[in-house]
Amino acid sequence: MDIRNGLKYSEEHEWLLVEGDVATIGITDFAQDSMGDVVFVELPEVGTSVDAGQACGVVESVKAVSDIFSPVSGEVVEVNEVLPDTPEEVNSSPYEQGWIARIKLSDAGEVDKLMDADAYRTFVSGQ
């Protein structure tokens, strides 16, 4: 199980990389492994505002449909345009090529409420 230091994590198994006031989000290695082969990704639209905890996209495997919940509030400023054509990147590279969206934070304090890598390791081991 690949859980990376330096990232933040949500209980819905999204990861978050904060750089300045922009956060990149994706689904964790645990999440992609649980889902199996990802075959379809529905991205949020650039320019939409999302609230923390709100569904902002969908990842589908052969058998299952899973919402992507934004771990933070803000405006979607960029999405990973290649994913609709190469959804398997979510499996093969969940923390890099498989990123989902970038969100301009409207409340940086929300980031502190998320888990760090150690807390997420503990969280996952209880699942």
Binding site: G36, V39, E60, S61, V62, K63, P84
Partner: protein, 362 residues
Amino acid sequence: MLKMTPLNQTHRQLGARMVDFGGWDMPVQYSGVINEHLAVRSAAGLFDVSHMGEIEVRGSGALEYIQYLTINDASTLVDGQVQYSAMCYENGGVVDDLTLYRFAADRYLFCVNASNIEKDFDWMEKVLAEGDFKDVELVNLSDDFAQLALQGPQADAILERLTESDLKSLVFYHFIEGQVAGVDTIISRTGYTGERGFELYFAPQHAEAVWTALMEAGEPEGLLPIGLGARDTLRLEKKYALYGHELSSQILPLEAGLGWITKLDKPAFVGREPLVKMKAAGIPRRLVALRMVGPGVPREQYPVFVGDEEVGRVTSGTMSPSLRVGIALALVATGAHQVGTEVNIGIRTRRVAAEVVKPPFV
């Protein structure tokens, strides 16, 4: 308590992901659904289908009883032949679909869906008790058989290494009794993938030995163990019905595209009257094959529209691993069933374009 096949430990040792499938603890995937699916289409795959049920019908009255119980014409069968068939309720709805094996004029074997074994056996007993049949005996042998499916273009080459039976003379929907890896086995040229292949029935205590022998024999061809995930996508690409989805007590076989096994010219069988009536009045719904034109994955219960009118629902859907496009089976109103009909599928908040296509998908 989940039921287990004799290969439960084997699956776990192989790292399979296990799921509850109709009360059975079954492998849904080993190396990944897409990888497994493509292995069956290009080489070969091995499936543990020991959860399937086997019910024997014995006695001199067996054929007369089976003719009344099932919708296909079992009188055409010869020894060593298999027939796809179904049992219906009085209202024409489907009890189960099945394969029927004729061993002798007084000995037949039903292979039925795992989650329906008890229901089917009870139904078969009820039909027997309420009818006027002489010398018919039913035996539920489900616990006496393990079953493996070896499927794919390389299936013959692999099985040939483990049997002296003449596979070349064994034609589609026929079976022979022989040995596989030294174990007495019913070798049946049948399957649920649309590929060449076999279904193998033998005593459960030999399951691990036969499984291991097949996996070793198939190594040069790239034989992989296949879970229920790929079993579902493989059958969907061929438009094979799955009970509980395309077939149920609320769906008549004529609606589900099983007119070809519904022999209305047989004098009497359970469900015949409503079926004859439906055929005369016009079949109201049809099972169709839908291929996505727009992006998205159709799923069971998603609504199907022509214009603004909902014409039916998806019964099974997936992303086709072979085509890399969304495909579905759907029950739609007659009129919306013609090949080429443009439809929309309601996927979450959007309506996405799809088209009725001629099956199979692959």
